[in-house]
């Protein structure tokens, strides 16, 4: 049996992932994260009497904190596995990836363990995020006058 024919055979027996169901779950959970974020912003503006910009930053810090805390306590991975992209695409996913790497390498020391490996999963996001920011910044500066 050649490789191509074998690929067809394996495809025949491979289970279908339920994409529609996954998308609906991701849509609902992602939306709920958005609602939670908005709720936090409103609370900070009304209760804390601060500006909208400051409240937005504070909301992001809160979501990051909660996601790190829940990862450290140990149940956030089960949530992410069930909710999929709804939880790992927003800022909660970045925090979860970073914290889980840090936890994993904790026993190997602060430098060779946590220091060297904390961005193992999220490093790409930082690197390409920074590069993209430069590229789009230059485009904006050149074509739209900054």
């Amino acid at each position: 049996m050649n490789k191509q024919k074998y690929q067809e055979l394996t495809k025949k027996h491979s289970p279908k992932e339920n994409k529609v169901k996954n998308m609906i779950i991701a849509f609902v959970v992602g939306g709920l994260i958005g609602v939670l974020g908005q709720l936090l912003v409103d609370i900070y503006i009304n209760v804390g009497s601060i500006s909208k910009d400051e409240a937005t930053s504070l909301m992001m810090v809160t979501l990051i904190f909660l996601s790190c805390l829940f990862t450290a306590i140990g149940f956030f991975d089960n949530w992410v596995a069930k909710a999929g992209a709804g939880l790992f695409v927003p800022i909660t996913g970045f925090a979860h990836a970073t914290t889980s790497s840090a936890l994993d390498y904790k026993k190997e020391g602060f430098v060779m363990g946590i220091g060297s490996n904390i961005f193992k999963l999220s490093g790409s996001v930082i690197l390409y995020g920074v590069i993209a920011a430069y590229v789009f910044g230059i485009i904006r500066f050149v074509f739209f006058g900054g």
Binding site: M1, L9, T10, H13, A81, S100, S101, D104
Partner: protein, 329 residues
């Protein structure tokens, strides 16, 4: 390549099983169990080392032997540099050989040990395997607390250690022959689908074994593959028929689909790891052979020779499978 043995018998077996496995269908059949992935140790790796040492001690206890009575130990696990085996045997006073064929290590170990003791120059050998879900996750996949969803074809590495003692003093169960498989690469790149990776090598080894021993699948009470998983099992049945014209019947099963309880646990396509097959065999099949419920059993341990480095370099995953035939005499 097929090798026949004249003087190799199973003297004893022992199993140590961890979380998820102990809740599965084989619940209560293990010699020793532990409930959490640390079992009192500081790290997952240290836990795995401890369980392997415990497993050997349980075996020595069960067979009334001492460390000095064992001529050689062959051990395998999934970690880089087979760390777990190396460290475990630093705590045991037994001459040691470290081996690695991923999940095919059980049969590799038994066939090598059988070659060593068959000529009666040496008397006893033990073969041990170990795997731990968390140490495997860390090395091959993602950090253990990272929860990205996995495809349904993923397998869930079993946590446990196993050991078997082989001797050339006659006992009830004989290791009659073994077939050494070839490394086969069918171009599968998906690291979440080890069943598809290993099936062609399992089928090749089965065909070689049947050809060289002049037997058919119906001559065996049970043909048990290692860790092809729920979907791999179906591919295996189809592949054997299409490629080698072997019709697999009801006497076939896969240990990946036996070890876990599908109804209650989220374990995707089943178990995997070098301990998956031996945990099933030593806790369930060997007792059934002792009670003469099963008389002739063919074990095909299947190993996906996966490396995260070569996977990232876009190379496909090779696999190897070895077969062992156990018979009640």
């Amino acid at each position: 390549m097929n090798i026949k043995f004249n003087n190799v018998y199973v003297e004893g077996v022992s199993t140590v099983a961890g979380p998820f496995v102990i809740e599965g269908p084989l619940k209560g059949k293990f010699d020793k169990t532990f409930n959490d992935f640390y079992d009192g140790e500081k790290t997952f790796e240290q836990c795995e080392i401890k369980e392997l040492v415990e497993c050997v001690k349980v075996l020595l206890n069960k067979t009334n032997t001492n460390e000095e009575d064992i001529n050689v130990a062959l051990s395998a696990d999934l970690m880089n540099q087979i760390t777990i085996s190396n460290f475990a045997f630093s705590k045991l006073n037994i001459p040691y050989l470290g081996i690695y064929n991923a999940c095919a290590s059980m049969c590799e170990g038994i066939l090598l040990a059988s070659c060593i003791i068959d000529d009666e120059k040496t008397k006893r050998a033990i073969v041990t395997t170990s795997s731990h879900n968390m140490t495997a996750e860390r090395q091959y996949r993602n950090p253990v607390e990272y929860g990205a969803p996995k495809p349904k074809t993923s397998t869930f590495t079993v946590t446990g250690a196993t050991s078997i003692m082989l001797t050339n003093n006659k006992t009830d169960i004989k290791v009659t022959s073994a077939t050494i498989g070839k490394v086969i690469d069918m171009g599968v790149m998906n690291v979440f689908d080890m069943g598809s990776v290993m099936t062609p090598s399992a089928a090749y080894t089965l065909n070689e074994h049947l050809k060289s021993t002049n037997t058919t699948v119906d001559d065996y009470d049970l043909i048990l593959t290692g860790d092809l998983g729920v979907y791999g099992k179906k591919i295996f049945i189809d592949y054997c028929k299409e490629e080698y014209n072997i019709k697999i019947g009801d006497n076939y099963d896969d240990s990946a689909t036996i070890i876990y309880d599908y109804q209650n646990e989220d374990i995707y396509a089943g178990g995997s790891g070098p301990s998956c097959l031996p945990l099933v065999v030593y806790s369930d099949i060997i007792p059934k052979m002792k009670s003469r419920e099963l008389k002739k059993v063919l074990l095909i341990a299947t190993g996906a020779l996966m490396s995260p480095t070569t996977c990232n370099q876009k190379l496909s995953i090779p696999s190897v499978s070895h077969a062992i035939c156990l018979e009640v005499i």
